[in-house]
């Protein structure tokens, strides 16, 4: 912790033990010459269920990669429970669930081996009994008990997705970060996923990157809208229909209700467009 800046020490003291899960403060990011993110600031509280939405190329994936410590911001601060994303302790706090459709389905690997990757050692070595127990438990949590010795390749799309969630759970994180969970899944799988995520939300912070608002609107309590910059909106009183229409229409229709103590700012309308 020696390298932490004064500001973070201050914020963690202010939090009085309960730190926010994720803090973005004036984060800027650019690939080579093209600027991807500008002055992104938002706070995700511990226990939140948040969706990150925005059009293609808006910077959703970049935000995810910044949280995971895979990219470094050009300027600004990012904190995961008070720690920098690149710190090993911060990395252990986030369980990442990538899009299942990006995998090579011909890869010869067992479900258990996939889940055990959440327990991977930093150097050479084998998994121990505890790792296996945790992995089996994670499989049970996603309702895939007894699937350990099956091949990843022979599972359905929805099952593969749940295996990847189990892998994230095996790392025993405090945050689950999920990338496009509803691309290429049918309604019944979606429903099952909703139930599962709701369950996980009891003791974990959930972040979903998605374009599918209908799916998440029932349970999210905050929405981060990304389009080069980002805003966070509480959604407690917003109906799915409203979000849907808000997403498609110019944003001046969105009521950005400001939570007490949250980082939500008042909007200057012209900048904040979702289309």
């Amino acid at each position: 912790m020696t390298e932490t800046t004064k500001e973070t020490e201050a914020t963690s003291e202010d939090a009085g033990g309960k730190q926010p899960a994720i803090v973005f403060e004036e984060v800027e990011f650019a690939y080579e010459r093209s600027r991807v993110l500008e002055r992104v600031s938002f706070v995700v509280e511990d226990g939140d269920f948040v969706t990150i939405i925005g059009p293609n190329g808006a910077g959703k994936t970049t935000i995810a990669k910044l949280m995971l410590g895979l990219l470094q911001p050009v300027s600004g601060e990012i904190r995961i429970y008070g720690k920098r994303p690149s710190q090993p302790r911060a990395r252990r706090l986030i369980g990442y669930v990538p899009q299942y459709s990006q995998f090579d389905f011909a890869f010869p690997i067992s479900v258990l081996s996939v889940v055990l990757m959440g327990r991977m050692r930093r150097f050479a070595g084998f998994y121990n009994r505890e790792d296996r127990d945790v992995a089996y438990q994670a499989l049970a949590e996603v309702d895939l008990e007894g699937f350990g010795s099956k091949s990843f390749a022979e599972l359905s799309g929805g099952q593969r997705q749940r295996v990847l969630i189990a892998r994230a759970l095996a790392a025993q994180p405090r945050i689950i970060l999920m990338d496009e969970p509803t691309s290429n899944v049918d309604r019944s799988v979606e429903k099952k996923l909703t139930t599962l995520l709701k369950q996980l939300n009891h003791d974990m912070t959930i972040l979903l990157i998605t374009h599918d608002l209908g799916f998440v609107s029932h349970q999210v309590n905050k929405v981060v809208c990304v389009n080069r910059t980002a805003r966070i909106h509480p959604t407690q009183e917003v109906t799915p229909e409203m979000i849907q229409s808000l997403y498609q229409a110019p944003v001046r229709m969105v009521r950005h209700d400001v939570d007490k103590g949250s980082s939500v700012e008042k909007h200057d309308t012209p900048e904040h467009r979702h289309d």
């Binding site: 410590g69 990395r91 252990r92 010869p108 690997i109 067992s110 081996s113 991977m120 790392a171």
Partner: protein
């Protein structure tokens, strides 16, 4: 075939024994590394590395005949050239910047050109054919020992890092997000590939390295559900291909490398056809049962 076996056990003719043992020893490394190369889809890197090996061989031949340097053997030159080219390609891919395929193509061709240039400048006549298309029969006892040592090293390291190599091949981003140094494993895999390629060059020659590295894992992939299983089956088929290829080439007086590759290729095609037939029979059975209901 009796001819082959009588020569095999003839004490005055060790070259055939060495060749057979070299093939058997190195099969394990080929199966293990070949399987990872196939599932990680970096066959083209192996191709570039194998061709740039000629630069190392050329340098060795040149130094020996020009300056009488004997310790720098062709095999050592091959090892250095393979590792160097693998690391160059790895650095380009890992640190980005240039187009991957362009750099791979460049390393491929430059290595080859450098090798042919050095061989041309070597006094006396050197036939690059035996390096390009392999000559398993020129393996000496000391080569055999080196092959065995390299093979044991490759297999040992692969077992030690099996989980990590598998994970990095399956989902590099997740592993990196967990704070594991995936760059280390990427370069380790390239190092293993480079050393394996050198072993392959001694057996089938530069041009056919990719074939022997990828065909047995491709066969194994048709019947394996786990990476380690794929490795073992691939090693088995490599052993069959090299041994049968050696026997047949000796018997019919044909070049060894091509015969080994053809044996592997025929096994691959036969396996594909058999699998297709089995699938069709299963389908017919299922539909037959369905219609009888």
């Amino acid at each position: 075939m009796t001819d082959f076996f009588s020569v095999l056990f003839d004490p005055s003719m060790p070259f055939l024994r060495y060749a057979l043992l070299a093939g058997i020893f190195s099969s394990a490394a080929f199966g293990v590394v070949g399987s990872i190369v196939v599932v990680k889809r970096i066959t083209y890197i192996a191709g570039a590395v194998s061709h740039s090996v000629l630069a190392g061989i050329g340098l060795s031949l040149f130094l020996e005949s020009r300056y009488g340097i004997e310790w720098f053997s062709p095999l050592l030159g091959a090892v250095i050239a393979a590792i160097l080219s693998a690391m160059i390609i790895g650095a380009v891919i890992y640190y980005g910047g240039e187009r991957e395929d362009t750099v791979i193509g460049a390393v491929w061709a430059i290595g080859m050109a450098l090798g042919l240039f050095l061989i041309a400048k070597t006094p006396g006549y050197v036939d690059p054919m035996s390096y390009l298309f392999g000559n398993i029969l020129i393996i000496s006892q000391s080569d055999l020992i080196l092959i065995a040592v390299l093979d044991a090293g490759i297999v040992g390291v692969s077992i030690l890092f099996y989980q990590q190599l598998q994970a990095v091949s399956f989902d590099e981003v997740f592993i990196r997000a967990r704070g594991i140094n995936t760059g280390f494993y990427f370069f380790l895999l390239l190092l293993l590939t480079a050393v394996t390629v050198v072993l392959l060059v001694t057996i089938v020659g530069i041009v056919m390295v990719i074939a022997l590295l990828t065909i047995p894992p491709a066969i194994a992939g048709l019947m394996s559900r786990r990476l380690w299983g794929m490795m073992m089956v691939a090693a088995f088929f490599t052993m069959i291909s090299t041994s049968a290829g050696l026997g047949m080439s000796y018997q019919a007086d044909l070049p060894t490398g091509p015969v080994i590759i053809l044996v592997a290729g025929v096994i691959y095609i036969v396996t594909l056809v058999l699998r297709r037939l089995l699938r069709m029979r299963e389908k017919r059975k299922v539909s037959g049962e369905a219609s009888s209901l």
